[in-house]
Every structure is written in C-alpha cells, then in structure tokens.
C-alpha cells in the first residue's frame, strides 16, 4: 500500500528523459551502398545499422530453391565492436533467431510468388547496438527492399513496447530492455493493418499486453511516416535545385 503510494507520488522518469510514449530520434537514408541492389542506413537512438538487399537472383544452392516462390534470406549480424565487451563475430544462436524473425516479419510484405526459384537476400549489419536492434533492422530492411525495386504490398514498420518499474513505455532502449519487466517487439503493416511480428519477453498482465501492442502500433505508424520521407528524400532533393534553374 505504502509502496504504491510512493510510486504514484514520484512521477516516472525514463533514463533518457523521454515521455512514456515517445520514440527515440530516427533518421533513415536509402540507397547508401552503390554495390547493393538496394540499401538503407538507419539511426534509431544510438543504434546504427546498414542493410543491403540483393535480388531477386539465382538461388544457390539450387536444391533449396522453392519451385513456386522466391526464398527470402535474412542475415542479422552484429559487428564485434557494436557492443561494449567485444562480441564474437561468429553467428550466435541469438543472431540466427533474429535472422529468422526478420524473415517472418518481411516476407508477408513481398510478392514472393512472382519470382519462383529465385532468392532475395537481406543483409543487416549492426555497427552500433542500443537495444531494439531487431525492430530497427526491420525498419531499414523495408526501405532497402523498396530501394531494390522489389514489389511490395506495403512497408513494414517495427517498434517495441514494454514495461519498466510498472510503467508501460514505448521503444525500449538498451537499459530499459535489460532492467525492465517486459519487452514486446511488434512489426506492423500500416496500410494493410496487419501485424507480421509479435514477440514477448517478460511478464505483463493481459490488459497491459493489449495496451502495449496498441502503443507499439501507434509507434509503428509514426515510423511509417519516417520511412516514407526517407524513400522520397532520395528523389525529392534532386528536384528542388532543378526547379530553381
């Protein structure tokens, strides 16, 4: 009783001073790698991630190619220097899982059935990690897929919500991810109104879970606008100086 009173008195403050439903600052740039078919660079808080997309191209090994659709292959990789105690560059169990999760999140948005027997490769390289890398990877990978000219049903925006010190918060950073009570990453297609990724780690009640998902969807809608701007920026900026002439 007295404990809950105290917590109500003192206003909850996040470690970086954000509001509970505020996203970290996000910048996305598309077409940063000339050697890839499509690429994107994202800064989401302190996360720095480069994504390159190749394809659709011939699938190797051929025996793994699907006869009726394209295979989407994702690689999530953290650079050794991306986290403070150096991390082994070899793929870990966690990397493999996040690669799979990225594939599941992106595949429903891609017209895979148009390219039978071929492969679409998505390589995400984390240069610096600060919590919520999987959501940032999905955000950047979507922009990179559009930049590669791969037909898509919709953009996939992704964002996490969670719980820390009994408060529901949006877009968890590294500290909140580790010290908080729950973390719920969500990937969402805003125009189709469909969720393509929903994970949870930690403990929340059913009501809290629902409001977390709704909060995350609101965050995804904000990220969707940023993704749109990022895609348009590549063409929009060229246009302005020409009109002045």
């Amino acid at each position: 009783m007295s404990k809950s009173k105290r917590s109500r008195k003192k206003k909850f403050e996040r470690y970086d001073g954000r509001e509970a439903t505020e996203l970290r600052p996000i910048t996305i740039e598309s077409g940063v790698l000339p050697n890839a078919d499509g690429s994107a660079y994202i800064e989401m808080g302190l996360n720095k991630i480069v994504v390159g997309v190749f394809g659709p191209r011939e699938m190797h090994p051929k025996r793994l190619a699907k006869p009726n659709m394209a295979t989407v292959r994702c690689r999530y990789h953290m650079a050794p220097f991306s986290v403070d105690p150096r991390r082994s560059p070899a793929p870990s169990r966690r990397d493999n899982e996040i690669s799979m999760v990225m594939r599941y999140a992106l595949e429903p948005a891609i017209f895979v059935e148009r390219y039978p027997r071929s492969a679409i490769d998505v390589y995400a390289e984390i240069i610096q990690a600060d919590g919520g890398t999987r959501t940032a990877c999905i955000n950047a990978a979507t922009v990179a897929l559009v930049d590669a000219g791969i037909p898509m049903r919709d953009l996939v925006a992704s964002c996490a919500a969670g719980k820390m010190d009994d408060n529901l918060i949006l877009d968890l950073g590294d500290y909140e991810d580790k010290e908080g009570q729950a973390d719920i990453p969500v990937a969402y297609m805003p125009k189709l109104n469909k969720i393509t990724l929903l994970q949870m780690d930690g403990m929340v009640s059913k009501d809290e879970f629902e409001s977390c998902v709704n909060m995350a969807i609101d965050g995804c809608n904000q990220i969707y606008e940023i993704q749109r701007e990022a895609l348009k920026k590549k063409y929009g900026l060229d246009e302005q100086p020409q009109e002045e002439n």
Partner: protein, 230 residues
C-alpha cells in the same frame, strides 16, 4: 471512384491509388477493391487505367530484348549468362556458332567464364528462363569499351522517344553506345575524354530520369561539358 493522388506524384508501395472499378497497369495490385502501388515510382492516371512508372525496378526479361551479360558457367552444350534476371540466362551452342553441338567443340575457346557478351533474348523457356543468341550483327563477345550500370527501369529514358536521347549523346560525344535492356551500357569512344563525357551524361540521366524536361537539361549539360573541355 476517384483518384487519390495527382498525376505524376511520387508514391511508395502500399499507397492506395484508386478506389473503384478501373484497370490496373504496371506496378500496381488490387487489394480489397482498391488499387495500390507495389513499387516506388510516379503514378500515372489515364482514362481507364492506373499505373506506376517505377523509379527502382529489376530487369524483367522479354523476348527480343538486347542485353549485356557475363558468362558465369560452362555446361555441356551451353553457357550460363548473368544478365541481372531472377534466373540466369542460357546460351546454347547452336545460338553461338550457328552449328550443332559436337563433342570436339572446345567451348572455352569460343566463350570463357568471365567474358562479357552482347546478346539478344530470343525466347523464354517454359520455366521463364531467358534463352540468348549471339548470332547477328553487333552481337557477340565484347573486346573493348567502358561498361557502366544504371537502374533498368531508366533505360527507356536513356533511349528517349525513338532513340532521340541516345542519338543526341552519340552525336555530341562521338562515342558508340550499346544499351542493354538490363541496365548495362557499353560505351566505346575514340578517346578517354569522349568516354568520360558520355559516362557523366548517362549518370545524370540515371539520377534525374523522373524530373520532366530531361532532354533539354541533358542538351544544356552536354554543351557545358563540351565547353569545359575546350
């Protein structure tokens, strides 16, 4: 029953372009009765059709296309050629030397792995694999020149109406240019300067293909780089 964008607006995948009955053109799909874009591009409304002019798109092979590709593998009786398609193209021996395959033919002597060829797509087999031929004028192995790549969806702008754009570049720079529909362009000039002029013009087209008045701007640009070199 209405258009939801202005003509030639920039749209991204998932944008709803039209609600109601209408034909769907390039780079669009129908979802719950609405017409949506599936690539980034400029929307184009006509009387009875909605389409998107893609700014980024891979090469969609059609028979009759001229393409530039690399030999990546030699199999018995055929070469596999990378022409930036979802599946590698095939070049069969009869389509390369105009005689049937015999066991005494040494295939690497005709075309080896790593060679670059100008070829024509003569057919697509029933899986959709492009079949190439290098029989014909100006087709075959490339011996010299400068190769560059641009987005395949911008090749029509580089060619221009009835070849007006490429003819202008040919005339102004004095280079010979072979344009592959798959986005690879081979430039062959008398001097290095001529080639670099053509390269810079084509790079400009790749960057600004979606802005109207392209031909005039390229014409001016050609004039300025020619004066700089004088």
């Amino acid at each position: 029953m209405s258009a939801l964008f202005e003509n030639r607006d920039l749209v991204v995948p998932g944008d709803v372009l039209y609600e109601g009955r209408i034909r769907t053109g390039d780079n669009t799909f129908r979802f719950e009765g609405k017409v949506c874009a599936n690539r980034i591009g400029l929307v184009n409304y006509t009387q009875n059709m909605v389409s998107v002019i893609a700014l980024e798109a891979g090469f969609n092979p059609l028979s009759g296309d001229l393409v530039i590709g690399d030999i990546i593998e030699i199999e018995l009786g055929r070469w596999l050629v990378d022409i930036d398609t979802p599946e590698d193209a095939q070049l069969n021996v009869p389509d390369a030397i105009d005689s049937p395959f015999r066991s005494d033919i040494v295939m690497p002597d005709i075309l080896d792995v790593g060679d670059t060829i100008v070829a024509k797509i003569v057919d697509m087999d029933r899986r959709g694999t492009p079949i190439l031929s290098i029989l014909g004028r100006s087709l075959g192995k490339i011996e010299e020149g400068f190769m560059m790549r641009l987005t395949p969806s911008k090749i029509p702008r580089l060619i221009g109406k009835k070849g007006s754009m490429v003819n202008m570049i040919l005339k102004e720079t004095g280079c010979s240019i072979i344009i592959g529909q798959n986005g690879r362009v081979l430039i062959n000039g008398k001097t290095r300067e001529q080639e670099m002029q053509a390269v810079s013009v084509i790079e400009k087209i790749d960057k600004e293909a979606h802005i109207s008045g392209l031909t005039n701007r390229v014409q001016e640009y050609l004039k300025t780089i020619k004066e700089e070199n004088r």
